[in-house]
């Protein structure tokens, strides 16, 4: 029930379309096919790019498959796809394999950032929270269950219980939050009893209606009824504001802690239609798609 289901169906539909076209057309215009594979987090944005680009350039058909970052990279090395979506940088042995196969090092292009914001109700006086505290709230056997344990007076005693809003097991957002926030804990599993929502917007909508809730979702979903928290790496340190420019900082100490780049890998320097496509993704139009889907865009197209 993630946003993944719809793109998957679309992909299935797209795969069927050329087959239908061929049997009927019999020698129409030459279709250039670009094969994209990889990260499940990026599958919906990749699908949106593919559709938008196909409207502008009907002669180019982009086929998108999910499967995971590792699957996409392996597929690129095997020559089964032209572009590999990845929500992590390539590992050393992956780079070596790709270089051995193609004679050039694979090239990664940052096409956006996935930054997760922590949302609370607008009346919640809390401003800053640390990764450790988040781990204690969300993690298995975590000890924080009430706002007062964070030194917060949330209006009335009945609003003191923390309502944890989480996502459906299996979603990209669920997995990234688990990795970034719970990853260093002894048991990197979520505490049971969280209220699990099946969409990024649903998390923010529920938090906006629940004064004692906290929830995580993409940075692009802020509404006037919720507040995004500043995040610090350690309790007591100064929090970093959830702003797009902070998500892009190169210096790790200044960077917003729950963010990762979204990359597209090519085997060597891209050329021809693939280069055109990548250039379009990085253009103002391509980056508008990134923001529409709740991610942070690259460059200054704010």
């Amino acid at each position: 029930m993630c946003e993944r289901l719809v793109p998957t169906l679309l992909v299935a539909g797209l795969l069927l379309l050329p087959a239908v076209g061929c049997s009927r057309g019999g020698g129409g215009e030459a279709v250039i096919t670009i094969r994209v594979e990889g990260s499940d987090t990026m599958v919906n944005v990749a699908q949106a790019w593919a559709e938008r680009y196909n409207q502008l350039h009907p002669e180019v058909s982009v086929q998108v498959l999910g499967g995971g970052s590792g699957v996409g990279i392996a597929s690129l090395i095997d020559g089964n796809c032209d572009l590999a979506n990845s929500s992590r940088t390539m590992k050393k042995d992956e780079i070596e394999k790709a270089t051995a196969k193609y004679g050039v090092a694979p090239k990664g292009t940052i096409v956006g950032y996935d930054a997760l914001a922590l949302y609370v109700h607008k009346d919640n006086p809390l401003d800053t929270i640390s990764l450790e505290q988040l781990g204690e709230i969300y993690g298995w056997t975590g000890s924080i269950t009430h706002w007062s344990q964070l030194g917060v007076d949330n209006g009335s005693p009945r609003r003191d219980t923390i309502v944890r809003v989480s996502r459906q097991a299996g979603c990209g957002t669920y997995s990234y939050f688990r990795e970034a926030v719970l990853g260093k804990r002894k048991n990197p599993e979520y505490k049971l009893g969280s209220v699990d929502q099946s969409g990024s917007k649903a998390v923010v909508a529920l938090v906006s209606k629940t004064p004692s809730a906290i929830g995580y979702s993409g940075m692009g979903y802020e509404t006037p009824e919720v507040k995004m928290l500043n995040i610090s790496r350690r309790t007591g340190e100064l929090g970093i504001a959830p702003k797009p420019e902070n998500a892009k900082k190169a210096n790790e100490k200044e960077r917003y802690p729950i963010t990762r780049p979204l990359l597209i890998y090519t085997a060597g320097e891209p050329t021809g239609p693939i280069k055109d496509y990548l250039d379009w993704i990085l253009s103002a139009e391509g980056q508008a798609v990134v923001r529409e889907l709740g991610y942070v865009s690259v460059g200054d197209h704010e």
């Binding site: 599993e189 049971l192 009893g193 209220v195 699990d196 909508a205 629940t210």
Partner: protein
């Protein structure tokens, strides 16, 4: 005869031989039609059998083999007695599949819904059948049928957006989508079923029963409680059980209104998760053929078993009532 032949310029006389022809054709095809109708009747059994077969086929590898190597272990005892539902899609070997919390969540929501819906539904049925006449009666029946036509996703949305904040205000619950919310929404969804079947059952009681009771000097309450309810027992029970069926199987509305949280409910205001909602929410994200996927089908079997037990009990109770009458 279609309207076209009578209204068109064709003279009426010609229609007689045509209708005779059709009669002859019907006579010839009667065995075929009979077979078609028979097939329609048997198809119900065929479909139930086929559905059970496919659900069972998907579930059987984990029931027998305990799950694929390195893809999470399935253990029947853990499945039924553990409250840890941790599918762990990124480290499947650590997955734990315990449905105790989900099962109790389903039972709690259904139980609460019935606690609210049965008095409300039967009360409304009695009012419509015995106290209402003419236009009021017709209007009420139409409106209640309209209530039954509201899609479940809309009910879920009402629970999520409207009832949730109201419950936070009124009860002081930390979160508005919880057991109480789901129970209320499900009760409202089952009431139309209970009302329309219950009203039919009461209507089917012959008027002579009512007249006899009145002539004996029974009050209105006595007629309803002592005469109508016993006489319409089977139908009223069917009404309640149809309501239970609707509540157990409901998916989208409870997914949105109950909060979807894996925990054994300790109070009316705790968010819960049901079996049906778990299948709906997770089936889209699992690897087809993996342990998690198959365990979801095992949950489907559990739901099958629950509805089977409910229906069987209903049948036995109804039969028991009948044989008592025969004595």
């Amino acid at each position: 005869m279609s309207e076209a032949t009578t209204t068109a310029e064709t003279p009426r006389k010609k229609s007689a031989p045509i209708s005779r022809l059709i009669n002859v054709a019907l006579d010839r095809t009667e065995p075929l039609v009979e077979w078609l109708i028979r097939l329609c009747g048997w198809s119900a059994i065929l479909f139930v059998g086929a559905i059970f077969f496919f659900v069972f086929r998907e579930a059987v590898p984990v029931l027998v083999g305990g799950g694929a190597e390195g893809d999470g272990q399935f253990d029947v005892q853990e499945f039924l007695t553990s409250q840890n539902w941790i599918p762990s899609p990124f480290k499947p070997a650590d997955a734990q599949y315990g449905i105790l919390a989900l099962l109790l969540g389903s039972l709690a929501v259904t139980g609460l819904a019935m606690l609210l819906a049965v008095p409300l539904g039967l009360g409304a049925a009695v009012y419509i059948s015995e106290f209402c006449t003419g236009r009021t009666k017709e209007t009420l029946k139409i409106v209640i049928e309209l209530l039954a036509a509201i899609p479940s996703i809309v009910w879920g949305f009402i629970g999520y957006m409207v009832l949730g904040p109201v419950l936070i205000e009124l009860t002081g619950a930390p979160v508005g989508i919880n057991l109480l919310n789901g129970g209320i929404i499900l009760a409202l969804m089952s009431v139309p079923v209970i009302v329309s079947v219950g009203e039919d059952a009461l209507k089917a009681v012959p008027d002579s029963y009512r007249e006899a009771a009145i002539s004996l000097g029974a009050s209105r309450w006595e007629i309803i409680y002592r005469v109508l309810f016993p006489a319409a027992k089977n139908g009223l029970l069917a009404a309640v059980l149809l309501g239970v069926g609707r509540a157990v199987g409901e998916t989208m509305a409870v997914l949105m209104a109950t909060g979807h949280a894996v925990q054994i409910p300790g109070s009316l205001l705790d968010p819960v998760r049901t079996l049906t909602a778990t299948i709906a929410a997770e089936l889209g994200d699992v690897v087809a053929g993996g342990t998690h996927y198959r365990v979801l089908f095992v949950i489907g079997l559990v739901l099958f078993a629950v509805t089977f037990v409910v229906n069987l009990t209903a049948d036995l109770v109804v039969k028991g009532i009948r044989s008592e009458k025969a004595r």
